[in-house]
């Protein structure tokens, strides 16, 4: 335990930092929730896709001089294409089988991706500079927040809101929801369900890559970076309720804050607190906080 007294200022600072971390959880768990909701696949490759996004950003900058802002658009698009290829060639054969098969396949895929990156780039990782526009920091009174961290919160909330709007308020979203509910009937109405499924997986993969680029200037880009995060993100999705979009986002942010507070009061437990909460939630509400019991 820290021997430094806890002041209101430092508490506010920690809350804000928790929100920043929560933003990453939110984007990643959102992608997982969307994929699970529509494909019934527990996408274990999500961490690897997140890492791929960060690496695309780094490769683009180092070898082609393509800056951060372009990467923010390009990396998710490329990873989305990669995701769609995986869906078409591998995942589509598993939808009728037990969840376990999808989990095992995507786990295998993530091992292959990570191994390949490790072979080419080693494990120490690569540095990525903070973009010019967002460098520096702002004095908020209670703490000095690096501008980039502020941008992370804004960008991820924007993306989450956009995703929610698309799924809940647009025609495409309505098709998606219909296909989730009853794929056969939806197909009977002349809607191309396999195409929808492919696009959804691509979109989920793109979200992971977006988080990857967003994280690149903050943490060292290494082939194992997704590994450290993915287990927590799964816990977030389970707490929020598998497949619930609102649940994933709200839980992601809330857990980021709770984790941040734990880091102040009892740092040793900060890696466990999420799982303790998961166990408690599962005991009380097995379908998760926002999930519907069926």
């Amino acid at each position: 335990m820290s021997e430094v007294g806890i002041t209101l200022d430092s508490l506010l600072g920690q809350l804000l930092l928790g929100l920043v971390n929560g933003s990453f959880y939110a984007i990643l768990s959102l992608g997982l929730a969307v994929i699970f909701g529509l494909l019934n696949i527990v996408n274990f490759a999500h961490g690897a896709l997140y890492m791929m996004g960060a690496y695309f950003g780094w490769i683009a900058l180092t070898y082609f001089g393509v800056g951060y802002w372009w990467s923010l658009v390009l990396a998710p698009s490329l990873v989305a294409v990669f995701g769609m290829l995986v869906e078409r060639t591998l995942l589509q054969w598993l939808y009728k089988l037990d969840h376990l098969y999808g989990l095992l396949l995507t786990f295998g895929v993530s091992l292959i991706i990570e191994g390949t990156y490790r072979y080419f780039f080693g494990v120490s990782g690569q540095p990525y500079p903070v973009p010019e526009l967002l460098s520096g920091s702002t004095d908020l009174g209670f703490m000095t927040l690096p501008n980039y961290r502020g941008w992370v919160v804004i960008a991820s909330l924007g993306v989450c809101l956009g995703t929610w709007f698309m799924i809940e308020r647009t025609r495409l979203g309505a098709y998606l929801r219909a296909a989730t509910e009853n794929p056969k009937l939806t197909q009977a109405f002349g809607i191309n369900v396999p195409l929808l499924v492919m696009l959804t997986y691509g979109f989920g993969a793109g979200l992971a890559a977006f988080a990857g680029v967003l994280a690149a200037p903050i943490i060292q880009i290494t082939p194992l970076m997704g590994n450290n995060l993915i287990v927590i993100v799964f816990a977030v999705v389970v707490i929020g309720g598998m497949g619930s979009i609102l649940g994933a986002v709200a839980t992601g942010l809330a857990l980021g804050v709770i984790e941040g507070l734990t880091k102040v009061f009892y740092p040793e437990a900060s890696s466990t607190v999420v799982f303790v909460i998961m166990a408690l939630v599962l005991l009380v509400r097995p379908a998760g906080l926002f999930g519907r019991e069926t």
């Binding site: 820290s2 021997e3 430092s10 080693g122 120490s124 920091s137 903050i218 943490i219 194992l224 890696s271």
Partner: protein, 409 residues
Amino acid sequence: MKRIMFGLIASTVIAISGCSKSNDVDEKVTDGEIKIGVLTDLSGLYSDIGGQGSIVAAELAVEDLGGEVAGYKVKIVSVDHQNKADIAAQKVREWIDRDGVDMVTDALNSAVALATAKVVAEKKKIMMNTGAASTRLTNEDCTAYTIHHAYDTYALANGTGTAVVKQGGDTWFFLTSDYAFGHSLEADTANVVKKAGGTVVGAVRHPLSASDFSSFLLQAQNSKAKIIGLANAGGDTINSIKAANEFGLTKTQNLAGLLVFITDIHSLGLPVTQGMYVTSGWYWDLNEETRAWSKRFFDRMGKMPTMINAGVYSTVMMYTNAVRATGTDNADVIMEWLRNNPQSDMFGTNMVLREDGRLLHDMYLMQVKKPSESRGEWDYYHVRQTIPGADAFQPLSESRCPLLSGQTG
């Protein structure tokens, strides 16, 4: 009849024992070759500091030996222990029982090293450890067959801690990885800091492989300590340093990395690491010999060697020197010879093996160069101070190695 039987049995027994005795004398190197096992992490988080580079270093040594010593072929075998102590121990057992491995080197990650040391001692072979940091290898868990080669937590703490306090960094706050290695590094350094006249104002323990360090660093910032000691390793150190720069800590406080490898500096870049103190057992740019060797290494690996890699080369040289001089691969004889004959190679000169297994050699206090001072990739350190082996490592009088009781008390 009974008498005949007795005579037969007795003569057979004598014949057998006679045979085995003459075998011992004739065959000085069992199975007619010297096999050296590079036990390392080829795929995980330490594969950049040991890994393939350690295998290449061992191969370079074999090349320099012309592939043989005293008429026996020298062979290198290697395995990926995946940083798991049980896998490492099982593999080493197999190596010794089935493949006739005589010496195990690298063996990085302290848990792996401690597990391997037991197996090696039980089988009466030798472990020359260049990879692990834990001082337990030459204290509670010392064996008559362990040589701790390149560095340990005591030497790191001692080098960096003393130097930083001397430069005026007399108040410390620790950012500590929450497991045995981190705790012992923190304790060792805290002792050194206090001994040098500094004070420790606090510490925060973070989980291994934490995803974000900003909140821990904010606590370090609030402590107002002049120095933030990073008692962690690998990716955790890298991400701590990155976050410290991002939050502007480095403007008012200084970082002291307690276990930093040159690959970490390479991966972070000089702009964020400049000015930092690092203690190391070796550096590629120390002298003509290290530069020449490192160039050969670079040509194969595309990167410069770490002190662990260079140490592996040195262990192969030391072991084969002993075989050449004694004409045997008997571990007791070799250990005895090494204790009495100080060794010199490109890793260090006049390296002395102590009874507790510690190999005494010079350590170096480095300071990371400013980007403007660096002549290019891998030119990262100013050598600020050479710490003689006798001062760098834990004194024998403080060692808790059970082998010493009765000898030194």
